[in-house]
Symmetry: C2
Subunit: 594 residues, 2 copies
């Protein structure tokens, strides 16, 4: 059976030593996040993840969710009790505003906790995760009355939330959606249509489910400019605010999926269900977009989370499985064979995963801190810079950490040989669960297009120029001998990224296919540079701690950072070359030739 130990120490190293969370104490909520409070929260989150929901991960996979003939859905055995514990712990609202029952702590803490939860049990974590997304949407776009009515039970978790975008013929291209909203005399709307792929769409964990639904108001313009966002509760509220009649929104079926079986992915049928407009008419897509950064950061974290738990289990197996002898001489001569961790190709695999995970976590934490600045700072300029960062890095984190997270889970599974293919070891579940993160919340190809087509050129390239300058400045300021092995390759990789950016500027205006054909490589090139930058920061922090005599355990960081530069980063040159090849051979064949 797989195991999991939440990397709380890693997280504290990032928060305290690399990103100096104490520097943010001027932001609301951060003064309550003293180092000991943060450590205590992470410790509790680790415990809950390891002891309560990790043991349910395989149960969720094998048992899945069950839809009954009346449309109700039962979650896997143990999920309900675990969820009750989760609610009792107040976890959903740790970063939500105090006025709605939250603890108002930094959003960064929620992001950190969510990594642990997603490693332990991704399918379970999606229930509260989607609730957090819905809370964010209502906070940002809801009326005061809507906030007062819906947020408190969602913040505690007695109600959960969902996002309803996709329809059978309409995924990425939301302008095609057909779900209809008809205005009623009392200001409410009747919603009719079919939504698919609705995670946590129906279940037995909570008293009520608050669906956020994209629909088209009768007579609205065609395309994306005619979509509006609605709040549609599963159970309507009586005039006393208590739960009343069932709203006609029902689960038509549960999808049979490759993974995340513990989460009920529903077809939801809206048959004239009562809903209320949230935000402005025909501005539904904008309302969705403002919360997408957070949701995408969350999905990027899921990629990292599956990679981390798969890595931990691969390490355990590699230390325990005896097979063959080290080429440099037996390491365990008293045993029938050496543990496979002695073999260089096993090491290469483990080091690759670890180098990506540790930098990936840094990238997530860094960006979560920027998100806190963007949402909480009272300095407009600071907010803008932080918002630029988030907009730029979000598609990178979502696309790159989920691609690499999946690839890493596959590599970790490979360490088990044939045993990795057998369900009982749990490695195949990590692979199957990780797979969805590359797809949902905008397939990774869409992330690449968002980055290249939307984010690069935005505000005359302000965000990307700021990122380049920041990395360049760091390289310049850290040219000493100790840092050189790290910043020299980082500088070369940054050069590749800058050349690729320049190439788009010169070649994609006249021929946009050149941007499209290179976008995926660009996203990964960007990711490699960003992860390399994170390594440079972590190495620097580790060197300082080691020099102060306080960081013996951090010496490994210097090695893993070097491995990253030598073994992971060289890929940037190939990405650049592919981008510079342009779209010609990619687009030359007519569609019929396929």
């Amino acid at each position: 059976m797989p195991t999991y130990k939440a990397p709380a120490d890693e997280m504290l190293f990032l928060l305290n030593d690399v990103f100096h969370i104490e520097r943010y104490s001027n932001l609301p909520g951060f003064s309550d996040a003293s180092p000991d409070i943060v450590a205590a929260i992470l410790g509790e989150a680790a415990k809950f993840s390891e002891e309560v929901i990790q043991p349910l991960n395989r149960v969720g996979d094998t048992e899945g969710c069950t839809r009954h003939s009346d449309g109700s859905v039962t979650t896997p055995k143990g999920f309900k009790q675990a969820y009750d514990q989760f609610v009792a712990g107040g976890w959903i609202g740790i970063s939500a505003p105090a006025e709605y029952g939250g603890q108002g702590l930094p959003g960064t803490l929620t992001v950190a906790v969510n990594e642990f939860l997603a490693s332990a049990n991704m399918a379970f974590t999606m229930y509260p995760g989607l609730t957090q997304g819905a809370i964010a949407a209502i906070l940002m776009h809801g009326s005061d009355e809507q906030k007062a009515r819906f947020l408190p039970p969602m913040v505690t978790g007695t109600w959960t939330g969902t996002m309803n975008l996709t329809e059978p013929h309409c995924g990425t291209d939301l302008g095609l959606l057909r779900t209809k909203a008809v205005k009623q005399g009392d200001g409410s709307y009747k919603i009719t249509g079919t939504k698919i792929f609705i995670s946590a769409g129906e279940h037995d964990l909570a008293e009520n489910i608050i669906h956020l639904v994209l629909a088209r108001i009768e007579g609205a313009p065609a395309g994306t400019r005619g979509t509006s966002l609605f709040i549609v509760p599963k159970v309507l509220l009586g005039p006393d605010g208590k739960l009343g009649a069932r709203n006609p929104v029902t689960c038509g079926s549960i999808e049979e999926k490759m993974g995340i079986h513990g989460n009920a992915t529903c077809v939801l049928n809206y048959d004239g269900a009562t809903g209320w407009l949230i935000g402005e008419e025909n501005r539904g897509l904008q309302a969705m977009f403002t919360m997408m950064n957070e949701a995408r950061l969350g999905v990027g974290t899921q990629g990292l989370a599956q990679s981390e738990v798969a890595y931990q289990n691969a390490v355990a197996y590699a230390k325990e499985r005896l097979q063959g002898r080290s080429i440099s001489g037996a390491k365990a001569p008293d045993k029938p064979a050496d543990p496979i961790i002695v073999h260089p190709d096993v090491r290469r695999t483990l080091m690759t995963i670890r180098a990506i995970n540790e930098a990936g976590r840094a990238l997530v934490v860094w960006t979560a801190l920027r998100a806190d600045v963007a949402y909480r700072s009272d300095d407009e300029k600071e907010r803008q810079t932080a918002d630029d960062h988030m907009g730029l890095l979000t598609p990178v984190i979502k696309g790159v950490l989920t691609d690499l997270g999946f690839a890493n889970a596959v590599m970790a599974q490979q360490m088990y040989g044939g045993h990795g293919y057998i369900a009982e070891h749990g490695m195949d579940q990590f692979v199957r669960d990780a797979r969805i993160a590359m797809i949902y919340e905008g397939a990774n190809g869409i992330q690449a297009l968002d980055l290249v087509g939307r984010k690069l050129g935005k505000d005359a390239g302000r965000a990307v120029m700021a990122f380049f300058n920041e990395v360049q400045d760091f390289i310049k300021e850290n040219g000493d001998d100790a840092m050189k092995p790290y910043v020299a390759p980082l500088g070369e990789a940054l050069g590749h990224l800058q050349q690729a950016t320049m190439w788009f500027m010169q070649n994609a205006m006249a021929k946009p296919d050149n941007a499209g054909a290179g976008s995926y490589d660009y996203m990964h090139l960007f990711g490699l540079v960003a992860l390399g930058y994170m390594w440079a920061h972590m190495v620097k922090a580790a060197q300082q701690k080691v020099a102060s005599g306080d960081g013996e355990a951090l010496k490994a960081k210097l090695v893993i950072g070097r491995f990253y530069m030598e073994r992971v980063l060289p890929e940037t040159a190939a990405h650049l070359k592919r981008i510079q090849a342009g779209a010609a051979s990619t687009m030359e064949l007519p569609a019929e030739a396929f």
Copy 2:
């Protein structure tokens, strides 16, 4: 539901126009393989694959195999009838010697047919596939009596075969195996032990199953030098040669796996089962090794096969799914959106898969032809050269085509967005089925070690030098303008491969970890060069056909070949750089630091 159309035309292009099968007519069996016979056989194989077993692929996945309390196993619905048809068609023995009931045709034809079958239904195809492996072992190492007794029913398929190597504590390192063989007075042995991961280990398709079992004869030396190979039939033969008593070898359980559910992967318990030594005592491993080239070529083909069928379905979806508009202007203005094949990133994905599949198929066919020479030529020098080629390219084909085949299946699944994650579309089955090919028949890390540790230095590098010379000569002879866009990048990639080889020669003797740490990159670097060489050949053949006015349809090859050179091949530089980084950062941390 997924569909499949066997690429018979592609195969004929390779056999006739690229590799000129007619040049092999001096070899036994090839004179019977006239172009029309070959076309007819491929046509029939295509039909069987498309019409009989492809429709059973999803049934096999969802239903799986069932073990009953008496240890018997039922295959999924429809498998038995399909298998009977397969036997009636004489497919298993098309390349087996006529004296045992085969048709004696080139082994290359079996390889070609097996690609179609494995695309249509990988789990089904493993039953006859393992039989072919067992036939090869008995042909090579069995006594005349064993051949006469066991081969005829295996060649027709009324009996099937298996390979029994793995034990719970013993996978790659076969020296650890414990299954025991005790010699009896009549010259037979009693076999006792547990074997795991036995594909096609028990089922209801055939009257008998011939298990080939690695075991240790009582008193044999420890390690690999003490293993012997045995024939252990499921049902013993009476003195009249008819089926008699049940041998005590039973299926203890069926593994619950990530994929290939239609194949029964068994734990087999041998409780004093009667077996007969095949080949010499304590030379069992050598006997296994001589048949491994073929088996590994077969598994490489499975990677290609899953990639091909996943590609075909991704293309169909990309042409049909309407979503978004082309960045260069609407392509289907009469429809609500353009088919997604207009988007450059979708094209990039499809072209990548296709460029790898077409070259992968060429590499398999080329190597299969070399295998026919190695087994059938009466010229010793020719046999040696062909055998060198096979030894060198086999780990490359197994490791690279299965890694890329899996990656391609994942990319093809990605084209479906959320629908790719839903079982009914079948894309996730391709991914799950393809996954095993990276693991079994020697995990890919072992292929890389075989290539670098064993094949490179063998006979003073004779095989690898011959390969380099061949590619170099082709490049020199084809420097004309039409070929330059292909041979120039190929030459650069070959240079990377040669530098990597040189680096190993200079750095791995004193420090073998340098070879181990670079082996995986080397295998992929080698694969990219080999696939590039295949593209150069295919492009040249296509150019000739186009020039002769006979190859309009082949013009696409010139584009796909260019795409390969521009978009796939640039990876070689990154592999070289990683190899040249050496083992230092990979091996520096102590095992406890993980």
